[in-house]
Amino acid sequence: EPEVTQTPSHQVTQMGQEVILRCVPISNHLYFYWYRQILGQKVEFLVSFYNNEISEKSEIFDDQFSVERPDGSNFTLKIRSTKLEDSAMYFCASSADRGRATEAFFGQGTRLTVV
């Protein structure tokens, strides 16, 4: 069964360092998303991506964040200068369509710890 895969499963980084979180969406999907969940809080939407551009982003997704689909299979989230408050579980998701209650398929998540 096709699934969304994320690497690494856990990443520890020093404050101020750049980090790239990687995701391989399901191959025939066209819409891609990043969400995050700070420990003990809700899962929050960060960004959606379609046709090589951002479709929608939340107020959390500021200039230190960027997304890219560099090679047609990977979908990455870059955090330029990490802060302690960026520590969270980051989930990638993909869907075949964006509306009509289309199912989003989620990866297992990358736990980012900023020290």
Binding site: E3, V4, Y31, Y33, Y35, Q41, K42, V43, E44, F45, S48, Y50, S55, E56, F91, S95, D97, R98, G99, R100, A101, T102, E103, A104, F105, F106, G107, Q108, G109
Partner: protein, 115 residues
Amino acid sequence: AQTVTQSQPEMSVQEAETVTLSCTYDTSENNYYLFWYKQPPSRQMILVIRQEAYKQQNATENRFSVNFQKAAKSFSLKISDSQLGDTAMYFCAFMSGTSYGKLTFGQGTILTVHP
């Protein structure tokens, strides 16, 4: 902005019994979709059931059914004949009909099924 509230942080049920998880939401929109996602321990979120707001009939998927009360903005999940494999975190989620697939999640309810 939409909000989703799950007021039960934890629930437990005996195997083979029925349990209902609560979810309320707030929106001014008329066209939207509601979802229940399940996240087993250390696994990715998977879709359990979805409901289109324009449909009056409650969605059902095998042992899972919803009670969708549009006027009350309530969307509860009923799990019948609970199984040990139903043990998971359950998230209620909202998607606007005008969004690009963005999901707004509730806080989650941890369900434990006891043998």
